[in-house]
């Protein structure tokens, strides 16, 4: 069980695609910093694979900072929940 922290916008960076190619059902993904723009990617090839990850989280502060919103199936969390999540998974990768 790996927790993947995504930090770059998938519109200009491959990290999200590269990460999605390697996750399993048990893994979790957190969208933070510019990676929260992924939530605007409904038309993109990576959007469905991303939202089909059951443990998909987006960081509330980063969403609000950028004036976007999250669809219902995405768990919106704050920093305290992020801290707790890193402990729930076995290890953490920052992409």
């Amino acid at each position: 069980m790996i927790l993947h922290l995504l930090r770059a916008s998938p519109f200009s960076d491959q990290s999200l695609c590269q990460c999605l190619g390697r996750v399993t059902e048990q893994d979790g993904i957190v969208l933070m910093q510019d990676a929260v723009y992924a939530l605007r990617g409904q038309e993109q090839a990576w959007y469905n694979p991303m939202t089909s990850v059951s443990s998909l989280y987006a960081l509330k502060e980063d969403i609000e900072a950028r004036g976007i919103s999250a669809p219902e199936q995405v768990h919106v969390i704050g920093y305290p929940e992020l801290v707790t999540l890193t402990l729930k998974f076995d290890n953490v990768i920052s992409w």
């Binding site: 069980m1 790996i2 491959q14 590269q18 190619g21 390697r22 996750v23 399993t24 076995d90 290890n91 953490v92 990768i93 920052s94 992409w95």
Partner: protein, 120 residues
């Protein structure tokens, strides 16, 4: 020294950025400290291991020669992503040191076995 195992991931190509060189520095120190360390090469990171690099021409240090010394630093876990190699038209024969080439599933399993993961 702590028994925690650390994986160091290379995801960036050499010379355009310093990630690879400083990932290697960290690997050498981890080895020198007797840390159980795995070195991984994913995505553009596989370019780190290409043979025949001559970065002197762009005024960068040729640290690719140092990979061959990893055996003296007790770095035994060297893993390359098969898919990343393939996508770049490369095979193991293009790489400067012998490595373990793993398919994505096996590679993820290997990563999951480490306590800590850092990426460059």
């Amino acid at each position: 020294m702590t028994s925690k195992r650390i994986a160091i991931i290379n995801r960036t190509a050499p010379h355009g950025h310093s990630q690879g060189q400083e990932a290697l520095d960290m690997t050498l120190v981890a080895g020198s400290f007797g840390q159980d360390v795995g070195l991984f090469f994913l995505d553009d990171g596989v370019f780190q291991l290409l043979t025949g690099q001559k970065p002197d021409a762009v005024l960068r240090k040729n640290y690719s020669k140092t990979f061959a010394a990893l055996e003296f630093y007790d770095i035994d876990t060297l893993v390359v992503c098969q898919q990343s190699l393939q996508a770049r038209g490369l095979t193991q024969a293009d790489l400067c040191i012998p490595v373990q080439v793993l398919a994505p599933d096996a590679l993820r399993e290997a990563l999951a076995s480490f306590n800590h993961i850092v990426s460059f």
